[in-house]
Structure formats: C-alpha cells, structure tokens
Amino acid sequence: MSTAERVRAVIADVLFVDLDKAVPSAVVMADLGAESIDFLDIMFRLEKEFNIKLPRGETEQKARGDLTEEEFSVGGRLTTEGLANLRKMMPELDASAFKPGLHLREIPSIFTVETFIRMVEQNLPTGAQLAAPASTEASPALT
C-alpha cells in the first residue's frame, strides 16, 4: 500500500467512514465529521502506523516562517501575509479554503485528507519520501 492509501485507511478507520469517502480532497471536519479528539486520534494512529513522530502545530509554525507576531496574525486572525504564507504551506487546498479573517484556531477546520498525507510524507525518514503528490497515483510500495 502506498503512503497515501495507508493514511486514507487510518483516517477512515478513526472516523468510522467508508474508505471511498476518505478521498484526498475530503475536508476532515466538514465532510468526514471529525471533532478535536479525532484529530488527536488521527495523529496518534498515523504516528503508530508509520513509526514516526509528527510535530504538533507544524503547519502553523511553518506558515509563520520569518514573520513577526503582528505580521502573522492580529487578534488571532491571520493577516493577508499570514494567510498567503499558510496557502504556500498547504498547496493541496483550494484557494477558497483561505478565507480572509481566518482565525488561528480554525486552521484544523480546513485540513483535508491530503493535508495529512503530505504531513506524513514530509516527516518520513529521508529516502522514503515521495516526490509526486500521492493523491491520484498509486505509488510504489516503499520498505
């Protein structure tokens, strides 16, 4: 099974949805009904499945980059720059996901299955990473 397929299988299992609903573009909260403890469980299960550590809050960290506190968010809401940075970190998402005024705490609400696939891929030990987006291709199984 490819990385993508394994991630999809974990998410489908945690959320008790059929595998064919857990498509890469599915929004984990809105489409698949996840709540905050499900996110915790998904992260836990992915770490166990792939024997890796997934840093928490990594997406937000990376989106901050070199920006200062105020340049990134004001009153918890992402600035235009902050939002643009976030979008760069999450190329798998449609532009419409990055609504102006998006609050920091709303970031998990835009996660898709693909977001988790990318997160796992980026944290696999070097050499095991896939070059292409995993969503539509059946990638060769890696040891």
């Binding site: 709540e35 905050s36 403890i37 915790l40 009153g75 918890g76």
Partner: protein, 431 residues
C-alpha cells in the same frame, strides 16, 4: 433566543415551595472551612503549587491547587466507616460536619419536628482517583487473590452519600449523581426540586472530587486540556485571559443543607440564602467540543431564569464555569452574551477557578456556595490573573479586586464533559 421548554408545556406549571440554604461546609485548597475559603476568594488568593501527591516531575503538567494539612474529622464517623472513604470523600466528611453544625441539625440542637422520612441526601461524587501504588497492587500480578481484591476494593461512589445520610438521620432516600464537571450542579438542582415539589423538606447536597493522581494527570494532558504554565503555577489558571492555555486541577468538597423555607423558619434556622431556579440541558453535540454557538449552556441559563421567574437583568453576578481553556471560556461567554446581552453591565461575570482550580465534581456546589456568600456579603468575587482580557469573550468581568455591589440574584454555571449543563440561581434573603 429559543423558547424555554417550560413555555411549551401545555399544562399549568406545578406549584413550587421556596427552598433556602441553612448550612454550608467546605474543604478547599483555600482552607478547611467555608468561611476561610470565602476569605481566600475575597482576597484573591491563588494557592496553586507544584503537585505534591506524586512525583509529577516528568509529567507535561505539574501543578495543581491542593488541599494541604488536612486531617479527617472522626467526630461524626462510626467505627469502620473510614474504610469506605477515598480522599475526596474524607473532604466531604469534614465539609458535611461543618454544614450540619451550622444548620443546627446535629445532636441535641436538632428539633423533634424534623421528620427523618422527609430528609434526603443528593450528592455529586467524583471518579475514584487512586495513587500509582494502587495500580501496582491491582494490575501486577494480574490475578489477585480475593483477599487482596477485597483490601483494595472498598470504595464505591455512593458510600459517602450513605455516611452523610447517617450523619443527618435521613430516611427519605439517597441519590448519587455523576456527570463529570456538572455533577454537583445536578445534585444541587435535584435537591432543590425535591424540596420545591414536595418530596422532601430537607436535603443534604453537595459534591466532592480530587483528580490529582497520575492517571488523570496523564489522561487530561493527552487531551491537551491542562495548562502548561508549570513554572508559574499561581498565574496559570486565568479564565478569560487572552493567554490562557488550559485548566489547573483543584480538589475539595462542598456540602450544603437545602431546606423548605417554612420548615427552616419554624425551627429558627439561620438562612444563608435562597435557591431560586435550576436549568439542566444536554448539549448533545460532541463528546468534548462545545457547540460553537453555545447551544446547551444557553438553554440551561434560560431554563433557570424561567424557573426563577426572573429576567436576565435581575442577575447581578454570574459565577462562570470558566475553566481557563480557550474553548470553554470563549463559548461559555458567547452563551452568556446571548442570554444577558454582550458586555452586560447589569450582569458581571467571573470565574473563581483562578482561585480554587477546577474542582470537577465539586465545582457546581462550591461555586453555588460562592454565589450565596457573594449575595450575603453583597461583595463580588474578583477576577484575578487577568493580564490581558480576551475581548473575544463578550462579557464584562468583575474587578481585579473584590468589590461591594448591591444585587439580589446570582447565577452559577457548570458545563460538563459529556454535555450536561447546569445553571443554578441563588437569591439574597435577609434573616
């Protein structure tokens, strides 16, 4: 605003009797009595410290509000009853003694006319919270002998209720309630209704809890619910502050004596305040997440107002559940703003969890007691540990120091894990 459920009922509302409070006792991190605890509240004390009960040095969250220098009072205990007491049940024994003494229901001061068949107990009890050596005995070896099991296994949640019933001579019935953080809110509500609707004349009620133990410290940490401000315990519990990052464990017990008004007057009891209304709902939304629109707590508060026949502007103070998590404080204040209006100046809000920590099953009872005392002393508890108020919380906080206020009613919220929400309204009564 949704209609209150009672407005939809087709029949007439049944008549209600008045319910008053004639005794309060408490064991809290602020002190070993209700008076000392209240004194701590008024002075804004925050007795949080590193966890003492076990070696928490490698836990992600290492602080708590703990009851210190406690010793179980055996004055009202029978021989052998201490075997049925877990730690927080011991707190409840002392708190019950204080409440019953104040109420004049013990021994020779107890009037003949109090009918034991019309005395009940309704208590909100926490989960068992043993130390790690208990797990040593229970799990390893996995098969214990019956003798070993019996030695480890005495404690059930309803035993403290049974002991309190014996202390007060209750024959009218006992119930023990558990709905996580709403437990004693519910216990008090059911005690109130039992008297209001004529099933009892006197109910000893309250709550007790202590979750400061390795399994729960680990468990809540995994859910991300606890504050990580380990190096500054005294400011970690900061409800409604912008930089709040989770709750801090508290522990303790609070016992109250609820009584029918005429019954209390006839025996010349000291009346500390009135129980005016109760609302209880289930959010039925998610297991841990609160409904983003505040559904659940909103209806509980509306139900309590309706039950008390009061308007939102009649409530001078709300003791919020206010756990100091990002989610609870934001959503609860949204709910409050929807019932009382955003940033209401008539209804000031605070959470006393900055001074007691989160006492879980005891919270409802303890915080209702704070409402009663606030009314009795016409003093608002302070909002402490606010370095930067979170303006996303659409409420007006009480001042950083305790302030006098002329007000007649207060409301206490409890928002439970698992979705039970209670709202209790206290009223000032002179005597």
């Amino acid at each position: 605003m949704k209609d209150s459920p009672y407005q939809k009922s087709k029949g007439k509302r049944p008549p209600k009797r008045r319910v008053v409070v004639t005794g309060i006792g408490a064991i809290t991190p602020l002190g070993h009595s209700m008076d000392i605890t209240w004194d701590g509240i008024v002075n804004g004390r925050t007795p949080a410290s590193p966890i003492q009960y076990f070696d928490a040095s490698e836990f992600p969250n290492r602080i708590a509000y703990q009851v210190t220098d406690f010793s179980l009072s055996r004055k009202l205990l029978k021989d052998g009853e201490d075997a049925y007491l877990c730690e927080c049940a011991e707190f409840a024994v002392n708190a019950a003694e204080e409440a019953l003494e104040q109420s004049g229901l013990l021994g020779s001061s107890r009037p003949e006319t109090t009918n034991p068949n019309r005395i009940q107990v309704c208590f909100g009890m926490g989960l068992p919270s043993p130390n790690i050596d208990w797990y040593e005995k229970v799990f390893f070896p996995k098969k214990l002998s019956l003798e070993e099991s019996l030695n480890n296994a005495r404690i059930l949640p309803d035993q403290i209720s049974s002991i309190i019933a014996r202390m007060v001579g209750a024959r009218g019935g006992i119930s023990t309630v558990h709905t996580a953080c709403a437990s004693s809110g519910q216990a008090l509500g059911e005690a109130y209704e039992s008297i209001a609707y004529g099933d009892a004349d006197l109910v000893v009620t309250g709550g007790a809890d202590s979750m400061i133990s390795p399994f729960y410290a680990a468990g809540f940490a995994l859910l991300g619910a606890l504050s990580k401000r380990n190096d500054d315990p005294k400011t970690a519990s900061r409800p409604f502050d912008r930089n709040r990052d989770g709750f801090v464990f508290g522990e303790g017990a609070c016992v109250l004596v609820f009584e029918e008004y005429d019954h209390a007057c006839k025996r010349g009891a000291l009346i500390l305040g009135e129980v005016c209304g109760y609302g209880i709902t289930e959010s039925a939304y998610r297991i841990t997440d609160l409904h983003p629109e505040g559904t659940g707590p909103i209806e509980a508060m509306q139900m309590a107002l309706d039950d008390a026949n009061l308007k939102p502007t009649d409530i001078g103070y709300i003791n919020a559940h206010g756990t100091s998590t990002q989610l609870n404080d934001r959503i609860e204040s949204l709910a409050i703003s929807k019932v009382f209006g955003p940033f209401s100046k008539d209804t000031l809000v605070s959470s006393t969890k900055s001074m007691t920590g989160h006492t879980i099953a005891a919270a409802g009872a303890l915080e209702f007691a704070f409402c009663l005392l606030a009314l009795r002393h016409q003093t608002l508890p302070p909002s402490v540990n606010i370095s930067s108020f979170d303006t996303d919380c659409l409420i007006t906080l009480t001042a950083p120091e305790a302030q006098p206020r002329n007000f007649r009613f207060a409301l206490s919220n409890s928002v439970g894990f698992g979705g039970s929400n209670t709202a209790l309204i206290a009223g000032r009564i002179g005597r």
